[in-house]
């Protein structure tokens, strides 16, 4: 090319000019401001409105936060301290209520000498979750995850160890029955296994537990359900509900995708019914109606009743999430499983569910976040949730009468941190589990 121009171009520059700095309006902070905040009339107006909002919020609330009192015995004392320190007529935050009552917000009315038990359960929760969430941990630890729920029940409620052992034993017996029956009755073994477990719990567990209790009494100081409250109650209901609702939700999702008309119809009816009514009506069912549906004279724990209904509620939502995951799998995966000659349960366990559940993780986590937020509704059936139950209780004390903002902010911040953390974690998990490199 250059030869062709050698005759036509009279002059060719052979040295580059030194680079000029960009104009002041196109560099550094000014450029960033122009591009991001003042790129046009509309954006300028928006920016100014945003700045005005922030200025208004900070101007209104900064002083209140700045005049915080941490050491006081009552709201009146707080106000005195604020008046003495910053002058009459100013308002300030009285965080002393949190300092005074934090244990009730966290543990409700749980005996203070036993606080180590819920704390231990909370720490062990992460030990149990680790092998489920991270494949780097040894597979052996899954065994601990499996017995963790029972261990947690024992640590939280105390009492004899043997009833909890009976729960595990029932599951083990059911599993053994499944393994024994599977080769003989393909497709039906699951009914047999459930039957064996139920029969054991109905007739075998009680006497056996009594006998063992007499023989080897292992027990912790009992803590009754009415002692539960605050975040202990919210987390117990939330985690318990999700752990029990996951298997149920998966079964419902499979039922809804099933070719069998009756199974499908029952699953659809259940899911649509539960999703169609507000949680609060289900909580009323737990507190008022469940006694009608059980044999006369049955009395059982309100937390357990609420947890059963919360589980059914969450299961319907999880079923819909998992159904989305199942539907998102390409048809070829089902056909490949069939062509390998896998039966229904093997195909589900080895091929379909691992992929479908992976797709469903964000949905499952957001269901869990929703459920954790909804646990505050248990206040309407007389339990002490951290938000209203405990706050009302604190306000019933004359010393803290009329304190609103500090408890709400405290509880709100804890809920925010837990839920925000979970949603960020699920985003991370989603990215990590992505197998396609797009």
């Amino acid at each position: 090319m250059s030869e062709t121009h050698a005759q036509t171009v009279a002059y060719v520059r052979d040295t580059m000019l030194p680079e000029q700095p960009p104009p002041a309006s196109q560099a550094g902070v000014v450029r960033w401001l122009r591009e991001n905040l003042f790129s046009g009339p509309l954006n300028t107006v928006l920016t100014l409105a945003g700045v005005a909002t922030i200025y208004w919020l900070v101007g209104h609330y900064y002083g209140w936060f700045a005049r915080s009192v941490w050491n006081a015995g009552s709201l009146a004392e707080c106000r005195q301290i604020i008046a003495a320190t910053w002058g009459e007529g100013l308002s300030g935050a009285c965080w002393a209520v949190i300092r005074d009552r934090w244990h009730q917000y966290l543990f409700g009315f749980y005996p203070p000498a036993l606080y180590w038990r819920p704390v231990l359960v909370f720490v062990l929760l992460f030990v149990a979750l680790a092998p489920v969430l991270f494949s780097a941990f040894p597979r052996r630890m899954l065994l601990f995850s499996a017995i963790y729920p029972v261990l947690a029940i024992w640590l939280l409620w105390g009492g004899s160890l043997w009833p909890e052992v009976m729960i595990v034993l029932g599951v083990v017996l059911g599993y053994l029955a499944l393994r024994l029956l599977e080769p003989r009755l393909p497709g039906f073994a699951i009914f047999g296994a459930i039957g064996v477990a139920l029969a054991f719990w109905a007739w075998g567990a009680g006497p056996l537990a009594d006998a063992l209790r007499a023989l080897v009494p292992v027990s912790l100081t009992p803590a009754a359900s009415d002692r539960f409250g605050g975040f202990l109650l919210a987390i117990t209901l939330g985690v318990g509900g999700i752990v029990m609702s996951l298997p149920l939700g998966i079964m419902l999702a499979l039922g809804r995708q099933s070719d069998m008309f009756l199974v499908k119809a029952l699953s659809v009816c259940f899911i649509e019914f539960i999703r169609g009514v507000p949680l609060i009506t289900l909580l009323f069912v737990a507190s008022l109606l469940l006694n009608y549906f059980l044999p006369p004279g049955t009395q059982f724990d309100i937390i357990l009743r609420v947890m059963i209904l919360v589980t059914l509620f969450a299961a319907a939502y999880i079923a819909e999430v998992v159904r989305g995951g199942l539907a998102a799998l390409p048809r070829g995966q089902y056909e490949a499983a069939d062509s390998l000659g896998l039966d229904y349960w093997k195909a589900q366990r080895l091929i379909i569910l691992p992929q479908a559940l992976k797709i469903s993780i964000p949905g499952i986590v957001s269901t869990f976040i929703g459920m954790f937020k909804d646990t505050t509704l248990v206040v309407f059936v007389g339990l002490f949730d951290p938000l209203k139950g405990i706050s009302d209780f604190v306000r019933a004390d004359f010393a803290w009468k009329g304190i609103y903002w500090e408890p709400y902010i405290f509880v709100g911040v804890i809920f925010f941190l837990l839920n925000f953390g979970m949603s960020r974690y699920s985003m991370y998990l989603e990215n990590r589990l992505k197998r396609d490199h797009r």
């Binding site: 905040l37 945003g50 039906f188 069998m260 008309f261 609060i280 839920n419």
Partner: protein, 420 residues
Amino acid sequence: MTIASEPPKAGFRLSQLIYDTRYRSLTIQVIVFMLFMAGAAWLVDNTVRNLQVLGKDFNFGFLSNRAGYDIGQMLIPYTNDSTHGRALLVGLTNTLWISFLGCVAATVIGVFVGVLRLSRNWLIARLMTVYVEIFRNVPLLLWILVILAIFTETMPAPNAYKVAPDTGVAGQEMLFGMIAPTNRYTAIPAVEFANSLGAIATPLAPLSLNFLLIVAVLIGSVLVNRRLLARARRIQEATGVRPVTWWQSLLVLVVPTAAVLVALGFHLSVPELRGFNFAGGTNVSNSFVVLWLALSLYTGAFIAEIVRAGIMAISRGQTEAAFALGLRPRRTMSLVILPQALRVIVPPLISQFLNLTKNSSLAIAVGYMDLRGTLGGITLNQTGRELEAILLMMLIYLAISLTISGVMNVYNARVKLKER
């Protein structure tokens, strides 16, 4: 030589019920059906026996008994002499009313915030993210309680709006000169007609003729406008030139309605302080305002995320392709982007509407008399009929939900991509 590939003609054996996949599903269904019926029978039997033990029966006769309690807010006429059934209807209309207003406000908030979150303005995008994350990650009950506390603790008493006679300055200015939030109620302007046509009495509620007339005229205007646009399209298809219609549309849509409003003597009656309370306007109780604000702000945050996801789901190439075809930005939006984005947005949006409707049962926290407050609250406590009241309440909520999701399914079927 032929190799016989005839299937074995053995008769039906009982073991085929278990091992043959053709019959197995039938067997499983029979077992499931028996288990289900057994479970249902067990529950019904328990209920019957429990009712016997308590000496109760199962009937809905209480709905026609005198209710005997007052309800603060109502859309249909009700006194404490009305029946429990009437109280149920009041509660149901209250639930539907707050859900409707909540859905409208939440959609407006959600669309604004969702669009602003995608804005190139750094500050606004951040602010909107903060709003969405804060509202999504904290329980709705907290927002209801906080807004309730804001109204009861920080709003002025009605007489704070009093104008001092000597200076002529009000202690507290009304918003836009017509809205006065107080610690007990919010006074808003009322719609009034100077030459009112009256109302027809129906069993449910008196039906305002003014309102009917305005709606009829509006529907008429819209129909005429559609004829107008159809004619413009015909001319465009025939000649290639689209006649200018915007001023005709504006005329057809605005003038008749405005004329009717003027003829009826439509005006806003601004509330003013008389004695210790506002009169002249409408005093909306704070329980309603608080619940409405909380539901709208909370659901608005979820809708914002849905709107954002919907807009982001439409790839940039669609816009570029539309521009390449020579479409103007506005037509690109209305013909290319919106139809595709709406297909993504509408199903989750409707499910948020459903959530809002169900969450309106949190009225219990502020004392707004919705369906749960009347049927599931005072009626239940007065008559002691937990079983009937709660089952009926669940069925009504279920009917509302199924109606809304039925509408959604019809919409989905209409906008579904026609694929191979």
